[in-house]
Subunit: 251 residues, 2 copies
């Protein structure tokens, strides 16, 4: 990221105008511009306009509530979810686990493109898995109330021989960003999978309850698992996949 890039400067200026501190505005701009570059515009600059429309922005500071070997819990404390994950990722990179660590983030919304955070952990040499909840927008394919958020699951794998592989999959057929952009009506949001959409529904429900069971406070949250790899499977995998577009690679 070139901090002199005009779009990046403008984005940071819009965010500082909303009350974010310079470091926060930079972290947010990094996320939104990374989303634009990776073709996920629904998590990109449209979200700056979206934030500009909030009657009141959450400007709190995330706080580590609990830390034990292999476990941390954080409370968003009224911070924007993006910045809760930013604080958590920075803390993990600064102090990675000896083996593995489960990190629970409560009151963290919205959390954006989860692959942005797992990628950074993988770039620091860690295997990372992350999910997060959001307002209920997915119902059972056979009908009934909206029961689960679009609840993405991201998995990032580091490699000594190249960039990480980053999978980042929402359980929905469309992004909420497409709804915000007027491309899709909110009622059209459903679990992905067509005739087998009950599978994505089951995953969305499982991830929803996973986050809810692990967070002490009500509200949307995130769960992050990180671990040191025992080996580097990516070079052989990429060789086998020669020519196939792998998750996280640009179209």
């Amino acid at each position: 990221m070139q901090h002199g890039d005009p779009l990046e400067r403008e984005t940071r200026a819009r965010l500082t105008a909303l009350g974010f501190a310079p470091a926060e505005a930079t972290a947010l701009a990094d996320h939104f511009l990374a989303a634009e570059r990776s073709g996920r515009a629904g998590h990109g600059l449209a979200r700056v306009s979206w934030l500009e429309g909030w009657p009141q922005l959450p400007l709190g500071q995330p706080r580590q509530v609990s830390a034990e070997p292999g476990y941390e819990r954080w409370d968003g404390e009224g911070a924007l979810g993006y910045l809760v994950l930013e604080a958590i990722v920075a803390a993990q990179v600064a102090s990675p686990p000896a083996r593995a660590r489960l990190v629970v983030a409560e009151r963290a919304f919205p959390t954006g493109m989860l692959g942005h955070w797992t990628r950074r952990l993988a770039e620091a040499g860690l295997v990372a898995v992350c999910t997060a909840t959001s307002p209920p927008r997915l119902g059972h394919p056979d009908g009934g109330p909206k029961l689960a958020g679009t609840n993405p699951l991201s998995i990032a794998i580091p490699s000594a021989a190249g960039p990480p592989l980053v999978a980042d999959v929402s359980m929905a057929n469309h992004t909420y960003g497409e709804v915000l952009a007027g491309l899709v009506r909110e009622e059209e949001l459903a679990p992905f999978g067509g005739e087998q959409a009950y599978k994505a529904f089951a995953l969305a429900v499982g991830l929803q309850l996973l986050v809810e069971a692990l967070t002490a406070a009500e509200g949307y949250g995130a769960v992050l698992l990180l671990a040191r790899p025992e080996r580097d499977p990516l070079p052989a995998f990429r060789e086998l996949a020669a020519g196939v577009r792998l998750p996280g690679e640009r179209r």
Copy 2:
């Protein structure tokens, strides 16, 4: 499970005839019969006939290789994968984590219906997430080599007020059990999701590499995360879902 049930007795007898010790045969029969009862025949009794056709059965004993706060690694040591997970689950229930634990199982194949193992952990009050790898049978929806196993993901959530909720979703459109039963040709196996099958492909690849990166030994394996819940979201969720068939409930 009534151990006097004729089908259960017969199943155990067939398994002890293959060389399994009585406790092993009971654990295997429990798994196969649970799969039959839950409508997942592909993981059920057909697998006993399948095992009967193996030229040599793996009859080793799983071994805990490493144990640290929040982390364990096990080696199947030539045991059947089902019995590796059986040993791991029994050890976790006997000695649950203070907060959370990542358990890695290397050289563990086949691992069967993962919900069988996560359900038992949830019945012991733990949140449990499990995935496992298997021979590459899924390619990118646009074509290319088979790159990932059907790699299921199971999530089980305990509740003080009723049975656990158990999601257990394979990334494939068919089960390999259906192939074994002659209902589907192996070439028809593909990521689920129709037009959005690239999503299930991305998850299958991410889960494949997650297991590979975390296991020190080559071969198929499993990764299990367990944690103590902070709260019990299931009663309110079930009330909201009234009438909707939730993951893990019988059709």
